[in-house]
């Protein structure tokens, strides 16, 4: 099952690089949430039952439903349909994803020891680096939030990779992080959208008190 999740997660990252519609980003985030649910369900079985159920609910409710629902609301409020041309052509973005994937596979082979689940480390590392890349290449604040959530998903996977245990405090902190980020950034996006009638990041430099 591990391999299936690795393949699926990597494919979602490739589709992130390929797609240009904001609705597709939201769908892909929901799918990533489902994949994380599967990962937790099948590989995190050494922790006690309360933590297990909590993490399962977190992935299925927060990551798969609440966050995409809220992002969709923000998208509709700002009438955002299509991402403007990113700074880097999509063709090169896909090649960059492949390169990041290869590097992270090689890196995890190099870092390999018994204490780590390096299988998940491969996609986790890719996801973190790709999230940063995603933020850099897009001009839109909405897409920057999506990139942030990709990084967050990568960190979730990384915490699975470091040990088969996932401390509940760490988990709560990540959860709080996501909530605050998505809520605050969502409100922020709405305000910016209402003021400038556009979500391009270049308008942000005009913001002065």
């Amino acid at each position: 099952m591990t391999y299936l999740f690795i393949i699926l997660y990597a494919i979602t990252l490739i589709y992130f690089a390929l797609s240009e519609r904001t609705k597709k980003f939201i769908w892909l985030l929901a799918i990533q949430g489902l994949i994380l649910f599967g990962v937790v369900f099948f590989s995190l079985n050494e922790i006690d039952i309360f933590d297990f159920i909590f993490i399962l609910l977190e992935t299925i409710i927060v990551k798969t439903m609440v966050v995409p629902w809220f992002l969709n609301k923000v998208r509709k409020h700002n009438q955002l349909k299509r991402e403007h041309e990113p700074y880097v052509p999509v063709f090169y973005s896909i090649i960059v994803v492949i390169l990041i994937l290869m590097v992270s596979f090689l890196l995890s082979s190099y870092l390999n020891n018994g204490n780590m689940h390096t299988q998940y480390f491969t996609v986790a590392f890719t996801s973190i680096i790709f999230g940063g890349y995603f933020i850099i290449i897009h001009k839109n604040i909405f897409s920057n939030v999506v990139g942030y959530l990709i990084i967050e998903n990568g960190i979730f996977l990384l915490s699975l990779a470091v040990g088969s245990v996932m401390p509940i405090m760490v988990n709560l902190a990540i959860l709080l992080d996501i909530f605050m980020a998505v809520l605050i950034l969502g409100l922020f996006i709405n305000r910016v959208g209402d003021t400038f009638k556009s979500l391009k990041t270049e308008y942000l430099s005009k913001l002065k008190d």
Partner: protein, 304 residues
């Protein structure tokens, strides 16, 4: 030998089924499933007209294209039925046979001296170039997984190995299906029904071919579809099944494949021409993911 016969039998009905499905979803009156066969047999009765600017290349190209596709069909096994020819690394030969046929068609298109056909040839060459890594990486990862390099051995040992082969198989079917769509100039990349030369890819290349030559090109396209359908069926048909059961599954998969192509064509908008290369390279990217995963599975990269 039987596998070749099976591929030849299914080929003529493939496009008919696609047209039928498309007509059904567009709520049009459905053409007969044999309609493409009638069209082609009418073309076969006609002679070909050659432009005075063309040379011998234009005359032999359809024949070379057709024969290269027929020979490529020799290598495809179906379930426990071996292909007519089979040797180590035959998939390379298979891929380059198809590429050779395509190369001749591109030369022929350039030979006519028409600007439109040159443009079509240009696009066809670009897309074939981009799709080649996807096919090779896909087959090489399967070869790595099964430690076999001929089509027959590859599919044979894919079935006796563990459940992991299902994961690889599913991804492989997804990629192979889209490779087939691109190779046959179908929906997301090309549209066979378009009437504007500027947006055509494959059709514009064969604008000058007529009569017998055009019929050969049509039949070669059917055969290509059938070949890819047979390749896909190999992921599903198990060798220990009795023969009649294997044959039934084979025909079912071919019909389903044609149906899926028709469905995709009915419901999917065509890509913008500028976005085609990135869409095609996405298939290569998925194949690379498959390859990297195979490296872990086969313990070439050891991960815990």
């Amino acid at each position: 030998m039987l596998s070749l016969v099976l591929i030849l039998i299914t080929a003529p009905f493939f496009v008919g089924i696609i047209l039928k499905v498309k007509a059904k979803f567009a709520a049009r009156k459905m053409p007969s499933i044999l309609q493409p066969i009638y069209d082609v047999s009418r073309l076969f009765k006609k002679g070909a007209v050659y432009s005075t600017t063309t040379s011998i290349i234009f005359k032999i190209a359809p024949l070379v294209y057709f024969s290269s596709v027929v020979i490529a069909a020799f290598f495809i096994p179906i379930g426990s039925l071996k292909g007519v020819l089979s040797f180590n690394a035959d998939f390379v030969y298979f891929a380059y046979l198809l590429a050779f046929g395509k190369f001749m068609m591109i030369l022929a298109a350039m030979d006519t001296g028409s600007g439109f056909e040159g443009m079509g040839a240009n696009r066809e060459a670009l897309y074939s170039m981009l799709i080649e890594p996807a096919f090779f990486i896909l087959i090489v990862s399967l070869a790595l997984f099964t430690e076999n390099t001929s089509f027959y051995g590859l599919f044979k040992s894919l079935q006796i190995s563990t459940n992991l082969s299902y994961i690889l198989g599913l991804t492989a079917i997804y990629v192979l299906m889209y490779i087939a769509m691109i190779e046959n100039s179908r929906s997301p990349v090309d549209d066979p029904n378009t009437h504007l030369e500027l947006t055509m890819i494959h059709e514009v290349m064969v604008l000058d071919n007529s009569g017998f030559d055009l019929a050969l090109i049509h039949v070669a396209t059917w055969l290509k579809f059938s070949i890819y359908g047979a390749l896909i069926s190999n992921f599903i048909i198990q060798m220990e099944w009795p023969l009649y059961w294997q044959l039934g599954t084979y025909f079912l998969i071919q019909v389903a494949f044609a149906g899926v192509v028709g469905l995709l064509e009915s419901f999917r908008a065509r890509n913008k021409l500028g976005k085609n290369p990135q869409w095609i390279i996405m298939l290569s990217a998925i194949a690379i993911v498959l390859f990297l995963t195979t490296l872990i599975i086969t313990k070439k990269i050891i991960l815990y």
